[in-house]
């Protein structure tokens, strides 16, 4: 596994600045949580790392070298909406196989698809299904399997549980934790939900209006927040004090 470094990354669309010299490091084998409200630039940061958003200034480095923005990226991304992230006319197996490096033969490909589906706790027989036959949670696992198929060195997970029903969300979060433990994945885990980030991440960075306002070990940031905005976020995540 590798280290993904954002070095003073700015993203600007016209006069509108989305990201302001953001510096962040996703260490090897670590899960870094990125929290913030909608519009704060969380997704843009992830998209910039895979070349889906143009970087105005700064650098995004993988083990000290710029992340390539063409061809198969060594950094893979899983998206929020499980209903948009799989081609509705491609079988699960084809979607996963498309991301595989090299040109594996038929047998090799089947074995690899089965292995990847197993990793995300899906039956290998699902490979022939179309996404329409899967539930939201199952789709999100396939999307994870596809990301893993590309043999990534870092995975970016962009709000991957927020479109899921609560009963399914837990299963995906457990899976993320298992994968970190078993595969030693480096991961940037983006969410607006502090409780979810607390559960999966070792480090947390708080993004507000395009700037990182605080970052550090999860227990420290959530237990002893130093920035006003972090305190504000934490207060919102806790139940209302007064009962009416």
């Amino acid at each position: 596994m590798s280290t993904l470094t954002f070095h003073e990354v700015s993203v600007r669309y016209g006069a509108h600045t989305v990201l302001h010299e953001v510096s962040l490091e996703v260490g090897a084998g670590r899960t870094v949580g990125l929290v913030g409200e909608s519009g704060c630039g969380k997704s843009t940061l992830a998209r910039a790392a895979v070349g889906l958003a143009p970087v105005t200034s700064g650098a995004i480095l993988l083990d000290g070298r710029p992340v390539p923005s063409r061809g198969r990226r060594p950094v893979q991304m899983v998206f929020q909406d499980p209903y948009s992230s799989l081609d509705p006319r491609m079988t699960v197996g084809d979607s996963i196989a498309e991301a595989m490096p090299g040109r594996p033969g038929r047998m090799e490909r089947q074995t690899e698809i089965a292995r990847l589906l197993g990793l995300v706790h899906l039956d290998a027989a699902r490979a022939g299904d179309l996404p329409g036959q899967l539930s939201g949670g199952q789709r999100q696992r396939v999307a994870l399997a596809r990301a893993l198929a590309a043999r990534p060195r870092v995975i970016l997970a962009d709000e991957i549980t927020s479109a899921l029903d609560v009963s399914v969300q837990g299963a995906v979060l457990n899976l993320i934790r298992d994968m970190r433990r078993d595969l030693g994945l480096s991961m940037l885990f983006i969410s607006h939900n502090l409780a979810v980030v607390r559960y999966v991440a070792d480090h947390v960075a708080v993004l507000h209006a395009g700037r990182i306002v605080e970052h550090g070990p999860t227990a420290r940031v959530l237990g002893d927040p130093r920035h006003d905005y972090t305190r504000h976020l934490l207060a919102s995540a806790h139940p209302l004090k007064e009962h009416t």
Binding site: R72, D87, M90, S135, A150, A195, Y199
Partner: protein
């Protein structure tokens, strides 16, 4: 395909299309001789048994000529359509194939060109290519390209925004493969539908061109040409002009109907079976602002009726705050709409009684009193305000309509209410359009709209789901304040257990259209007895969740509301379920609907 054929319109279109194509293929072979046989003894004759629509100035049989003309007419139409399609597709795919800058330029050019009507472009190209069939085909083809390019561009842009295209790019899929594997299969259907209908339009355009004398030239003839020849004699011999005209219309219809049938994929919902005997009416619970007994809501769906709510009984006391939690498909939002009286036929609402703020919602009528006594807050603040009207008048409408206020007085009250829901500078804000408000502000304005009257009950359907966490809290606090000030009761629908426990006194847990548990909000996390409630609470991480243990998971999938099980709907996912659970549905007794209530898993 088969579904489209099953509808009369689709069948008519396809049959007509087959006939027209058959005429195009076999017409010249079968009637070719007849169409060219000159009969000087029978010039410009009217309809007769021998010549169904008469003869032309050389005594040739016009009916045969119409049939023979089918081939040229159809061929030219198809050729021109093909030109438009290929060119249009290339132009439409330009942003994807040619890179950002060139693509943007091409798109801008297409946008300028598409504003000019096809016929004008046809005339322009007809000048360039000269008069004649080939020139006309090129002209019509080129003229159709911008519209086709616009369609392809819109469709491709829609697909390009999908995450699977982004994922494929990240996985290193090249542009051409992307176009072929991901984009084409997903836009093929609308493109083919459009092309079919465009072919019909092209056919008509061609007829127009030949009719003007700019298309097919003698001695060749298509339908337009025949029409032009016939128009001169329309006084004495109308069928000579109308005959080919009818052929054009039929052929155009054949293409249009076929396209139409495939475009509007028949997703006809089944009609609900007749309602059963209504349950004997019961009296509403005393001291309640909302009382529902055995509430059932049935929605017609494509695969049979959906039993969204299957017998829910509950009441909300004056000033009480009741929460309803459940996952998507549990029937909680439908319940909210039913008690707000906002479900319309063909959705069917049945109950032994359903009384809100003194209004019997099962009785027909406008329930005008609810306009002031009931406030409703919906999930998506972005779409719940009318984009065409300013915010202030949308609030003021309530007072003008229900409280007989004048325009000015009502507007003043609207400003006052916006102020009450803590919207800064309310006088200016009231004159703005909804799109100038942020999401949280709109949700507060929506609550303000409910406060225009004198609400006894506020129904809030996922009021914070679409909002940011920090804004969520403000809206919840506002709801609590409003309750304190007005004494209104609250029915709060949410998928979020913590939202409901924060704000409500009592909680109903719904699963598959039924209330499975009812308990005080403060006991939800600790004293729940239904296995579903306990699993739901445990599955959601909060700030106190144990980090060393995996989260609780509910296996399986939520129940399909079309097929309602005989027994407990949760049984297939329940670790405690036995055969009794799977066959006998547990009633809601003593606050819980479970045969195994309180047993440890």
């Amino acid at each position: 395909m088969r579904a489209a054929l099953r509808r009369p319109v689709g069948l008519a279109g396809v049959v007509l299309l087959v006939l027209v194509l058959a005429a195009a293929v076999f017409g010249p072979v079968v009637w070719g001789d007849r169409a060219t046989a000159v009969d000087t003894a029978d010039l410009l004759a009217g309809p007769s048994a021998e010549h169904w629509i008469g003869t032309d100035n050389l005594g040739r049989d016009l009916f045969a000529r119409v049939l023979v003309a089918a081939r040229l007419s159809i061929l030219l139409a198809l050729a021109a359509t093909a030109i438009s399609m290929v060119l249009g597709f290339l132009l439409g795919a330009a942003p994807m194939l040619a890179g950002r800058r060139l693509g943007r330029l091409i798109t801008a050019a297409v946008n300028v060109l598409v504003a000019f009507p096809g016929l004008l472009l046809v005339l322009f190209f007809a000048v360039v290519f000269g008069v004649g069939a080939r020139g006309a085909a090129l002209a019509v083809g080129l003229a159709g390209a911008p519209a086709f390019a616009r369609l392809c561009h819109t469709l491709i842009a829609g697909i390009s925004e999908r995450d699977y295209v982004a994922a494929a790019r990240i996985a290193g899929v090249g542009r051409v493969r992307m176009l072929l594997r991901h984009v084409l299969p997903n836009i093929a259907e609308p493109v083919i539908v459009y092309a079919t209908m465009a072919a019909g339009g092209v056919l008509l355009t061609f007829a127009g061109l030949s009719f003007l004398g700019l298309g097919v030239q003698a001695p060749d003839y298509d339908w337009g040409r025949l029409m032009q020849d016939g128009l001169n004699g329309i006084y004495i011999h109308p069928l000579a002009a109308l005959g080919p005209g009818i052929a054009v219309v039929l052929a155009g219809l054949a293409f249009n109907l076929t396209g139409e049938a495939f475009a509007s994929a028949p997703r006809r919902a089944h009609v609900l079976p007749k309602a059963g005997q209504p349950a004997p009416a019961t009296a509403p619970a005393a001291g309640s602002v909302l009382s529902a007994d055995d509430l059932r809501v049935t929605i017609p769906g494509p695969n049979g009726p959906i039993h969204a709510v299957r017998g829910v009984t509950f009441a909300v006391g004056d000033g009480e705050a009741v929460g309803v939690v459940g996952e998507s498909g549990s029937g909680k939002s439908v319940t909210a709409l039913a008690v707000a009286g906002l479900l319309e036929p063909p959705v069917r609402v049945e109950a032994a009684h359903l009384v809100v703020a003194g209004e019997d919602l099962l009785a027909p009528g406008a329930h005008r009193r609810l306009g002031t006594a009931l406030a409703v807050v919906f999930q998506d603040p972005m779409t719940s305000f009318n984009p065409a009207h300013r915010v202030g008048p949308q609030l003021a409408e309530v007072s003008r309509f229900h409280q007989g206020m004048g325009r000015k007085a009502a507007f003043a009250r609207a400003v006052d209410r916006l102020n009450a829901v803590r919207i800064g500078d309310p006088a200016r804000r009231a004159r703005q359009y909804p799109f100038e408000f942020s999401g949280g502000m709109r949700q507060r304005a929506m609550i303000g709209m409910g406060l225009m009257g004198d609400p006894r009950l506020i129904v809030a359907d996922e009021p914070t789901t679409a909002l940011d966490v920090t804004v969520q809290r403000q809206v919840l606090e506002l709801l609590a304040d409003v309750r304190r000030e007005t004494g209104a009761a609250l029915l709060l629908i949410s998928h979020d257990v913590s939202v409901v426990t924060d704000v409500c006194d009592r909680v109903l847990v719904m699963y598959a259209g039924r209330v499975v548990e009812e308990l005080p909000a403060k006991d939800l996390r600790t004293l729940a007895r239904h296995p579903y409630t306990r699993a739901l609470v445990a599955a959601v991480p909060d700030m106190e969740t144990d980090l060393d243990r995996p989260l609780a998971v509910i296996p399986g999938l939520p129940v399909d509301p079309v097929e309602t099980p005989a027994g407990c709907a949760f049984a297939p996912r329940c670790p405690l379920a036995d055969d009794h659970c799977r066959t006998v549905a547990p009633p809601l007794l003593d606050g819980v609907a479970c045969h195994k209530a309180g047993e440890a898993p």
